[in-house]
């Protein structure tokens, strides 16, 4: 059993890897990489040579290529002590054309070009872009020199996979942070140091708080292990997909917080999220009032759930409702096959199957609106009522589907020989149903349960859009629209993992329900 499961999980992970690899291959190798700027306002403001450089910088940031500007190269030489400050100042000045460069500059430019061309880089010199015949450069028209080298997709894939899970450690913070190490406290300083609330704090780590408790579900939180699914370019710029999906939304929530300096204030700052930001304390006098070290980068606490949170809440309620409705209805339809109830149920199933989902979601919305239910999601004034319509809209089609299959499985079983034999043995119809038919018909349904529960995490595009739910359902479509490749890959990975997991869990459940299925090799 264990051996089989381990091999199933490994094979599942391999297939996830293949899927992500294919997606990365498609969007990084076959798609024009300029498309990522489609929704970027900064890009359209950049002009002339600066635009080229901006593109290079962004491509480097999003993993397309390695980019080395000439100035960085010189700075590197300077820091290694190979040149002095004077030479640096002389060498870094580029003239409008290579021919016009000073001797020192020419010298180092050649050295730069030679060194990086040997490494396989392409060296690019952009001539100064002047206004008309004058010597003045246009905006962003300064001459540029840089080297760049594409990163092969397989390397990207490898970097991506190995970077998915990162563990914080005390050597992460750059610069002088004092004594590096972890401390454990029973009294979290955020709560004033008197309330019992254990926490693990780090110095030298990226996050200050590695483990802590608060009053938000699931009450115990950690920052030690982080999941990185890929940086977003335009959907939520510069933020990781995992963060985008799990960060809380809505309006700020103010609570009483004790800052490291001892200042107590009503604030939305969530000190538990503090991350290291080198030099931030020195450069920002405002922060010196609150903080004593460079862990000043905090995010804010908000009232609402995360995107994933909203999607999952609605999804899981819909799944529960669907099963609660579909199981008794499906059974009733099968037991009274071809009678009134069965025909009514069939009409409903046909309606849901035939009518496009958009149409009946709007139908439910308008019916619900007439009944006075909220038809739009409002994070500022949350109430349970606003969940009703989205949940119903999601549950009703799922119910139809489940009813259809349950009815079908039950009728198949009812025609089984063992049912006839049980009847000939004098069992009543009720007993036959309870003891035999229901259990047998349940087996294929059991397999689908994990998929529907985990599927709730992916969100529902149309329902969420109609009811303005800030959920995760539209993340992928938004990302595709905006050419946000990082998000596309990240969400693909997430969906693929969900699918693989639900199939494996479904198989395990089925083996528990059906004695004929075992994970051990044949032979008793």
């Amino acid at each position: 059993m264990t051996k089989y499961l381990v091999s199933r999980i490994l094979r599942g992970l391999l297939s996830v890897l293949i899927v992500v690899g294919i997606v990365m291959m498609m969007i990084y190798a076959f798609l024009d990489r300029r498309t990522i700027f489609a929704e970027d306002p900064v890009y359209s403001k950049q002009k002339s040579n600066a635009k080229q450089v901006y593109m290079m910088q962004q491509w480097e940031r999003y993993g397309y290529l390695d980019y080395v500007p000439y100035a960085d190269y010189l700075a590197q030489l300077l820091s290694r002590g190979e040149i002095d400050g004077q030479t640096y100042d002389a060498a870094v000045k580029l003239d409008r054309t290579p021919a016009a460069d000073s001797g020192t500059t020419k010298n180092y430019v050649n050295q730069f070009a030679q060194e990086y061309e040997e490494k396989g880089y392409t060296v690019v010199r952009l001539k100064g872009d002047t206004q008309g015949n004058s010597q003045k450069y246009k905006e962003g028209g300064e001459p540029r020199l840089y080297a760049h080298r594409d990163i092969p997709v397989l390397t990207r894939l490898w970097r991506y996979i190995t970077g998915i899970i990162t563990v914080d450690n005390i050597h992460n913070a750059q610069g002088d942070v004092g004594k590096r190490g972890l401390t454990f406290t029973l009294y979290d300083p955020v709560y004033g140091g008197e309330k019992f609330s254990p926490a693990i704090l780090g110095n030298g780590t990226t996050h200050k708080y590695l483990l802590y408790f608060d009053n938000r579900f699931p009450y115990i939180h950690q920052n030690l292990v982080k999941v990185n699914l890929g940086l977003s370019y335009s959907v939520n710029k510069g933020v990781d997909v995992a963060q985008t999906m799990t960060a809380s939304q809505g309006s700020f929530v103010r609570r009483q917080v004790t800052y490291p300096t001892g200042v107590v204030e009503q604030t939305a700052d969530d000190l538990h999220t503090a991350t290291y930001s080198p030099g931030s304390l020195q450069s920002n006098p405002l922060k010196q009032k609150y903080f004593v070290d460079d862990y000043t980068n905090v995010s804010t606490a908000k009232t609402g759930l995360s995107r994933l949170g909203y999607s999952f809440t609605i999804g899981i309620l819909a799944v529960v409702l669907a099963y609660l409705l579909a199981i008794p209805l499906g059974i009733a339809m099968a037991r009274h096959k071809d009678k009134g109830l069965d025909k009514l149920g069939t009409v409903y199933i046909v309606f849901i199957t035939a009518v496009p989902s958009l149409a009946y979601i709007f139908l439910f919305q308008s019916i619900g609106g007439r009944l006075g239910l909220p038809t739009a999601f409002d994070m500022e004034n949350p109430s349970w009522l606003m969940y009703i319509l989205p949940v119903i809209s999601l549950a009703l089609p799922a119910t139809a589907n489940l009813m259809k299959w349950l009815r079908r499985y039950m009728i198949d079983q009812m025609n089984g020989d063992y049912v006839k034999f049980a009847r000939s043995g004098g069992l009543s119809e009720g007993e036959i149903f309870r003891k035999h038919v229901l259990r047998n018909a349940g087996i294929p349904l059991v397999h689908g349960i994990p998929a529907s529960i985990l599927g709730a995490l992916t969100g529902a595009i149309i329902t969420e859009r109609v009811y303005v739910v800030p959920g995760a359902g539209n993340l992928l479509t938004n990302a595709i629209n905006a050419y946000d490749n990082g998000v596309i890959v990240g969400v693909t990975l997430f969906y693929a993992l969900l699918t693989v997991t639900s199939v494996i869990v479904g198989d395990v459940l089925m083996s528990l329900a059906d004695p004929r299925i075992t994970f051990t090799p044949k032979g008793r």
Binding site: G416, D417, Y418, K420, F421, A422, R423, S424, G425, G426, L427, S428, E429, E431, K435, H436, R439, N440, I443, A513, D514, P515, R516, R524
Partner: protein
């Protein structure tokens, strides 16, 4: 057949089916008495109504079938005979099925619930019909499993059907059918799905247990070899009617109906080397239409004019032997049974090199 007590008396039974708005007459007036402790075989080709006939005893007709007329008098209960055709409610049938009349079906592979342990399937029927505790039911089930020839029943009690072979499963099916000491055991081709060696074992088991339990066997088959093995009496069914009824010796050695002749002639064991196997020509009549005359007439090589005009009555040959053919009418020309099935005993002995 002296002084046998009747257990079930079928009186002029007509069964009809409503199929897509048309009426199909599956059983067209069958009268038959079943005696306590006997084994009667019901033979006939596919579609002759063998299964439908026995399903009426157990109230297991498909939902579109109904008993049009006739009576099924069951003498297995205290007091006055019970007319099974009058049972309407499922609850009444549940008293008869399993407890009084049990059925063994053709395919042991599918007759058991695949996901319930064998032992529980037996005890659930025992608990249903007999007032006893779970422990008693278990003991009784183990005893039955041993009786039907399951080695180490204790160890196999909690096994699932898929862990049993086909023959073993049929033994379990028989154990379940016998668990409540039924008075009639309907065996609907119980050996068809088994291989030949297992067939013989199962037949022997059914016969042996009959001595102990004293039930009446109604054996449906189209295998005449099985009939010779197990039956005391044979009823030959054709197009929803009994065309010939007699003891097994009478049917094999002195058949009177041309259809019985044809059936016997089709025994592959009788075929000579280098000759074609005998096959009955034509197809059975459509039961949607009203049948005029003898139903077998169109396929009967000895057909007479009267066969096509008027349905023959049951002619008595002996006290136990009846046949429904005009050939037995005193006015009919004397017709001998075909050469192929004369001296059938010697021929069969020769065929099997006994």
């Amino acid at each position: 057949m002296e002084q046998k007590k009747v257990i079930l008396s079928v009186r002029d039974l007509h069964v009809k089916f409503c199929v897509r708005g048309r009426i199909l007459s599956a059983i067209r007036g069958i009268s038959l008495d079943l005696y306590r402790g006997e084994s009667i075989a019901i033979v006939g080709e596919s579609g002759s109504g063998k299964s439908v006939f026995t399903k009426t005893f157990a109230g297991m007709l498909e939902t579109n079938g109904y008993i049009d007329q006739g009576q099924l008098l069951f003498y297995g209960v205290e007091g006055t005979p019970l007319d099974l055709t009058a049972l309407r409610r499922a609850r009444d049938w549940n008293q008869i099925r399993g407890g009084k009349i049990a059925t063994v079906f053709q395919d042991p592979m599918t007759s058991l619930d695949p996901i319930i342990p064998i032992g529980r399937q037996i005890t659930s029927v025992i608990l249903k019909h007999q007032a006893c505790t779970k422990a008693e039911a278990r003991a009784r089930a183990l005893e039955l499993m041993a009786k039907v020839g399951i080695p180490e029943p204790q160890a196999r009690f909690d096994d699932y059907p898929f862990q049993y072979s086909g023959g073993m499963r049929q033994r379990i099916v028989i154990a379940i059918a016998l668990s409540c000491q039924p008075q009639i055991l309907i065996c609907d081709e119980p050996t068809t799905a088994l291989d030949v060696t297992i067939q013989a074992q199962i037949l022997k088991l059914i016969k042996d247990l009959q001595k102990e339990f004293g039930y009446t066997i109604v054996f449906i088959t189209h295998d005449l070899g099985v009939v010779a093995n197990i039956a005391d009496r044979v009823a030959v069914l054709y197009a929803g009617q009994i065309v010939e009824l007699g003891t097994v010796e009478e049917i094999f050695y002195d058949p009177r109906h041309p259809y019985t002749w044809a059936l016997l002639s089709s025994l592959p064991q009788l075929a000579q080397r280098n000759t074609k196997l005998y096959a009955i020509t034509g197809t059975p009549p459509s039961l949607y239409n009203r049948i005029v005359g003898d139903a077998f007439a169109p396929r009967n090589p000895q057909c007479m004019q009267i066969d096509t005009l008027k349905e023959p009555p049951m002619f008595r040959v002996t006290d136990t032997h009846y046949a429904k053919t005009w050939l037995l009418d005193p006015r009919a020309p004397k017709t001998e049974k075909p050469e192929l099935i004369r001296n059938i005993h010697e021929k069969l002995l020769k065929a099997f090199h006994i």
